[in-house]
């Protein structure tokens, strides 16, 4: 069972109270982009075994979108943070570095 704390209302929400929103921090390929980058934006997703950044919506609660960092293999949660960011906050990266030494963000 996955429990994520919503950064907006502070509720420790069960997985069944949340709607998954897929991979976080995607960069949108806007008008005039190469076909390949539009394809990557629309379809190419990472599927790591280990540290992963995701979007979730607190659907059965305050209704807000937020981000989470968790381990897909163990469901170990490194933290959750608001959706109004384009990069992962430093405190989350530090939590990951502490518990997964040597982890590097895939390019």
């Amino acid at each position: 069972m996955l429990i994520l704390t919503c950064p907006y209302c502070g509720v420790a929400a069960d997985e069944t109270e949340l709607s998954p929103g897929g991979e976080a921090h995607l960069h949108r390929a806007g008008p005039g982009s190469e076909d390949a980058s539009v394809e990557a934006y629309l379809y190419h997703r990472s599927n790591p075994k280990g540290v992963h950044f995701e979007r979730w919506r607190h659907a059965y609660g305050c209704g807000k979108w937020f981000h989470s960092a968790r381990d897909t293999a163990t469901n170990d949660v490194f933290g959750t943070y608001p959706a109004q960011v384009t990069e992962t906050p430093q405190n989350i990266l530090e939590a990951i570095a502490q518990r997964r030494p040597g982890w590097e963000r895939p390019q």
Partner: protein, 174 residues
């Protein structure tokens, strides 16, 4: 198991959306509800009226039956020029009052929320899932809780609550 009662209530309810940290909005809501604007996740109640914190930009004002339409109009008048939404939602929601000694277990059996008194203190509003539908509840005093759900699923929720009462306590928080 007659110690728990489930009663359908029909209070007036006004949805207020906007910047809950703005002074104008807080003052208008307090004036209409007769209770201060609650902190995050709290219920601020004064007798039959009060304000529930629903999300960072949403509050639900509870009023006596039949007073909601007038209150929504009064809010909009006070908040003229301030970005907001005030809407009479009394007929879109159903409210249940649950009374009895082990009501935390009645709810715990239906919801993924942690109902332990330390996890859910008095007057904290928990929006969550009740079996298959969304609901919000808060415990006003040990032995008395109120629950809000969509009216379209009120019969379903009433059935859930009654069944949970019939099945008896499980001794979770004994």
């Amino acid at each position: 198991m007659a110690e728990i009662t489930v009663t359908r209530r029909t209070p007036g309810m006004v949805l207020l959306r906007g910047d809950l940290s703005s002074d104008a909005l807080r003052e208008a809501a307090s004036a209409v509800a007769g209770a201060p604007m609650p902190e995050r996740r709290q219920a601020s109640l004064s007798g039959d009226t009060g304000i529930l914190w629903m999300s960072p930009d949403e509050a639900l004002i509870l009023l006596p039956e039949g007073r909601a339409a007038e209150a929504a109009r009064a809010l909009s008048q006070r908040l003229e020029g301030v970005h907001h939404l005030a809407l009479d939602l009394s007929d879109a929601r159903a409210v249940f009052e649950i009374e009895g000694p082990w009501l935390r277990e009645v709810l715990a059996k239906l919801s993924p929320a942690d109902l332990h008194p330390e996890a859910l203190p008095l007057l904290e509003v928990r929006r969550t899932r009740l079996a298959q539908v969304p609901a919000a509840f808060w415990i006003e005093a040990e032995g008395r809780a109120r629950l809000i759900c969509f009216r379209s699923v009120a019969d379903y929720v009433e059935g859930l609550l009654r069944r949970s009462v019939e099945d008896g306590p499980v001794g979770l928080f004994a």
